[in-house]
């Protein structure tokens, strides 16, 4: 019934680290500070830790289910809820992945519009991105994993640029430590969710991981690494901006690139936004891959067809969001939906799965 991918289509278990981490580091890193500092102020770093830890738990739950099932989310749904209800839930996840991809792609094109080319023809740019994504995803999961890994390699050195704002850092901004209520911290933690979204794709690419039991460890390490990156970025931004300044900085990290002072280049954000393409394309590829794989598994169509169809939809919907407000709203909605999906639905599914598993075992 369910044909699992062949051995030569799989990736090594430690790529789970890159896949999980890559999907979490994306366009969000460029400007997450303002959003998370809204409620908890400069104690929001605690919220990052909270969310990171919760994500670790959810990954643990996901792997418990996946190890038992051996395939992916779609077969879990089918196993638990039967063909129709399970299929409907799987369809919801496909739509969710599509929206996640739209958010990533549209937010990045917005960054390009704001920081590089205000008058750029967005549809043309989106079509070029679409071609790029198509040519990657059409190569199969290994290529997608490869582009994620290379994206990470190219993107990591950008973290070194934090050295420049650190020269002007004022760590007393952070004090007094922990003067916000738990409620504020949790609200901020909820706001952090959007940045951590994407790890749930492992529910789709699980069968493509060689030795999945080892992969679990790597996936956890990947998330811990993500938490570290966000924590570090947040600290640097909090130390650099005062609270009032940060409240007006939509793209805090991007703005900090402006002060990068290298002898051969000024206004580093031009370079930075361009290099950031290598952080965005893998995420879009992974998102589209997961969605099209879902369509393939659910409706038994060729993945190339579903890929083309979904890319068409994604690019078309990206064109619909034209204003800053629209894009912000998209981000907020996807963040909300993602929060419910990841932190409410998956744990609930986990509990239900375990109960069903116990009951079925006993009845046998």
């Amino acid at each position: 019934m369910d044909n699992l991918p062949k051995k030569n289509r799989k990736v090594s278990s430690f790529f789970a680290m890159f896949l999980v981490h890559k999907m979490q580091i994306g366009v969000g890193l460029l400007g997450f500070e303002r959003v998370i500092a809204k409620n908890a102020g400069y104690d929001a770093w605690v919220s990052i830790l909270i969310t990171g830890f919760c994500v670790n738990i959810v990954i643990w739950m996901s792997f418990r289910m996946l190890h038992k099932d051996g395939n992916d989310l779609i077969s879990i749904h089918k196993h638990l809820f039967g063909k129709w209800v399970g299929g409907g839930l799987s369809l919801y996840f496909i739509v969710y992945f599509v929206f996640l991809t739209i958010t990533i792609l549209r937010t990045y094109t917005e960054v390009i519009q704001i920081w590089l080319f205000p008058g750029i023809n967005v549809p043309v740019l989106l079509i070029i991105f679409g071609l790029l994504v198509y040519s990657c995803v059409a190569g199969g999961f290994r290529i997608v994993a490869g582009i994620a890994f290379i994206g990470l390699l190219i993107g990591m050195p950008l973290l070194l640029l934090k050295y420049f704002p650190l020269q002007y850092a004022n760590f007393s901004n952070l004090s007094p430590v922990l003067d916000h209520s738990v409620k504020d911290l949790l609200l901020s933690a909820k706001a952090v969710t959007l940045n951590f979204l994407g790890f749930e794709l492992l529910l789709m690419y699980y069968p493509f991981l060689d030795e999945p039991r080892k992969a679990e460890k790597w996936a956890q390490i990947g998330t811990i690494f993500t938490t570290a990156v966000y924590l570090f970025s947040a600290f640097v931004s909090f130390a650099y901006y005062t609270q009032e300044e940060l409240a007006h900085s939509i793209w805090a990290t991007l703005t900090m690139w402006k002060i990068v002072d290298l002898p051969f280049v000024e206004r580093f954000e031009y370079v930075g936004v361009s290099i950031w393409l290598f952080e965005i394309i893998p995420n879009v590829c992974l998102g589209v891959w997961a969605a099209s794989r879902g369509v393939k598994r659910l409706f038994a169509v060729n993945q190339r067809k579903s890929l083309l169809f979904l890319l068409f939809i994604i690019i078309l919907s990206c064109m619909l969001f034209q204003t800053r407000q629209g894009i912000d709203q998209l981000n907020t909605i996807v963040s909300q939906v993602g929060f419910w999906t990841v932190f409410i639905y998956i744990p609930a599914l986990f509990v239900y799965y375990m109960i069903v598993d116990k009951v079925r075992k006993r009845s046998k």
Partner: protein, 507 residues
């Protein structure tokens, strides 16, 4: 998607009558001989007297000395009466008696002498007696090295195999021979070391070579293109080398070597992109020096591809990111140029490509003149005339220079070509365009394979062990294992040494 798939049209198999010898050389013996005799260099005479043996051969491919000294005396002095007796009398190996027209034709065309008792009798004695002209072994020219062996392959397959065999005197070095080409009947040898090589690679190579159907295989580059995994890629998927030492070292690593008769290059595979930045003389210097050279090459290639594109991107769109100190220089240089940067860059890149192409086609002595006239005269004149800016001239010249640092000629062509997509995309979207173009190439390289093995190997899939001999070269003492990419049957190169005596301070 039917739209993206090309419809495979299979034409009905035609029986090709123009080259009939593929299976059936001729209807009968007489017709075959008539065909031979149509050429002026085919000799056929009765010896030692009328109504005796008939001796016939192509005088252009047969060694006359051997005929005179070893074959003809036997016929006169020993007075044989049957072909068997002749065969026993001639001191040459591999003599065959046959009446198979195909055997006869193949033998004659590769330099055998036919001896018949009766000219109408189709039983022929075939004495191999080929003489072929070959070039002396000379020093490598495209892969020159200051130190190290100074031998290069020549056009003769025997000499080439000899050059490899004398470096690897083990019976495990085995060879399969395949004939390819309907007309050219080119001999192709596939060499490998049994016990080290992954037999799957050997099978793949032999399978792909046997599947080739083409009329004339003139050079090994035909084979390299025909058996490539992706024939539409600009990246070469085999390393071609003219150095026997490089071939021998590839074999001992577990690679497969392909030699084509008539071609002074050989192919090794499977290969990864890092192999193209490996000059063989990297192994002749200490590992620190070799590593630095390799890194220089990698940066040179990146510079060569990106520099003009980044110039166009920055001067067209991102002039804000030029540092204030650099600005006066750039303004002074570019102020008078009437063209947009992209046109300026295309003009200069075009000029350099013209020079290269002209230099490559002309004899060496004229070529030098072209280089001087083009490089110095045109360059200076173009700047003085205000057509191009000094800065760009410098960048383009450096980029051209940098593209020559790659040790393998094929990849330097690739680098030459892929600069243009980068240039055009820089004009389209500035630095973002450069990034998009790079992403397309990364994606392409990720998909590329060489004999089914990933092309970007030590990077993706990440194999840390193979990084020891990629962008850097670690000392020989740490090269204990053969590259993982080759999936060798026996991966250990040597026994790890026991620790040497420690100094007194460690005791």
């Amino acid at each position: 998607m039917k739209f993206f798939k090309s419809e495979k049209k299979v034409p009905p198999l035609q029986h090709d009558t123009s080259i009939p010898y593929a299976e059936v050389p001729a209807k009968d013996f007489e017709e075959l001989f008539k065909k031979f005799k149509a050429s002026a260099d085919f000799l056929s005479f009765q010896y030692p007297s009328e109504a005796a043996f008939t001796v016939s051969y192509f005088k252009s491919i047969v060694g006359p000395d051997q005929v005179h000294q070893e074959i003809l005396p036997v016929l006169t002095q020993q007075h044989p009466s049957t072909l068997e007796e002749v065969k026993n009398g001639i001191p040459v190996e591999n003599i065959i008696i046959s009446n198979d027209l195909k055997v006869i034709q193949d033998a004659v065309m590769t330099g055998s002498v036919i001896i018949q008792i009766n000219p109408d009798n189709s039983h022929c004695l075939l004495v191999p007696c080929a003489s072929s002209e070959k070039r002396q072994i000379s020093i490598p020219e495209t892969e020159f090295s200051v130190v190290g062996p100074k031998e290069a392959f020549v056009e003769s397959i025997e000499t080439n195999i000899n050059l490899i065999r004398k470096r690897l005197p083990v019976p495990e070095l085995q060879m399969k021979e395949i004939k390819v080409g309907r007309i050219s009947q080119t001999r192709i040898a596939v060499l490998y070391i049994d016990g080290i090589v992954d037999q799957e690679n050997v099978q793949t190579v032999i399978q792909r070579i046997s599947d080739i159907d083409y009329d004339a295989i003139v050079d090994i580059s035909f084979i390299a293109q025909m058996i490539a995994d992706n024939q539409n890629s600009v990246f070469p998927q085999f390393i071609d080398t003219e150095r026997p030492d490089r071939a021998a070292s590839g074999l001992s690593e577990g690679k497969v070597v392909i030699i084509v008769d008539g071609s002074p290059q050989i192919l090794t595979g499977p290969t990864t992109i890092t192999n193209f930045f490996t000059a063989f003389d990297d192994y002749f210097v200490t590992w620190h020096i070799a590593s630095v050279f390799r890194l220089i090459r990698v940066f040179a290639v990146l510079f060569s591809i990106m520099s003009t594109a980044i110039y166009v991107a920055v001067t067209t769109y991102h002039y804000q990111s030029i540092p204030a100190d650099l600005l006066p220089t750039l303004i002074a240089s570019r102020g008078a140029v009437p063209f947009p940067p992209i046109l300026e860059a295309l003009v200069l890149e075009g000029t350099i490509e013209l020079l290269r192409e002209a230099g490559a086609r002309l004899p060496t002595k004229v070529g030098q003149t072209i280089g001087i006239v083009g490089g110095i005269v045109i360059g200076t004149a173009a700047v003085q005339a205000g057509f191009v800016s000094n800065v760009l001239l410098m960048l383009t010249a450096l980029a051209a220079l940098a593209s020559f640092t790659t040790p393998i000629y094929q990849i330097s062509n690739t680098i030459r070509i892929i600069r243009f997509p980068f240039l055009l995309s820089a004009q389209l979207y500035g630095l973002l365009g450069v990034a998009i173009c790079a992403a397309f190439f990364v994606c392409h390289l990720l998909k590329l394979t060489s004999l089914g093995r990933p092309y970007l190997e030590p990077i993706f899939p990440l194999r840390v062990k193979d990084l020891k001999d990629s962008f850097i070269r670690l000392p020989f003492s740490s090269q204990t294992q053969r590259p993982e990419i080759l999936r060798t049957e026996y991966s250990s190169r040597m026994q790890p040494k026991p620790k040497e005596d420690s100094r007194d301070i460690d005791e």
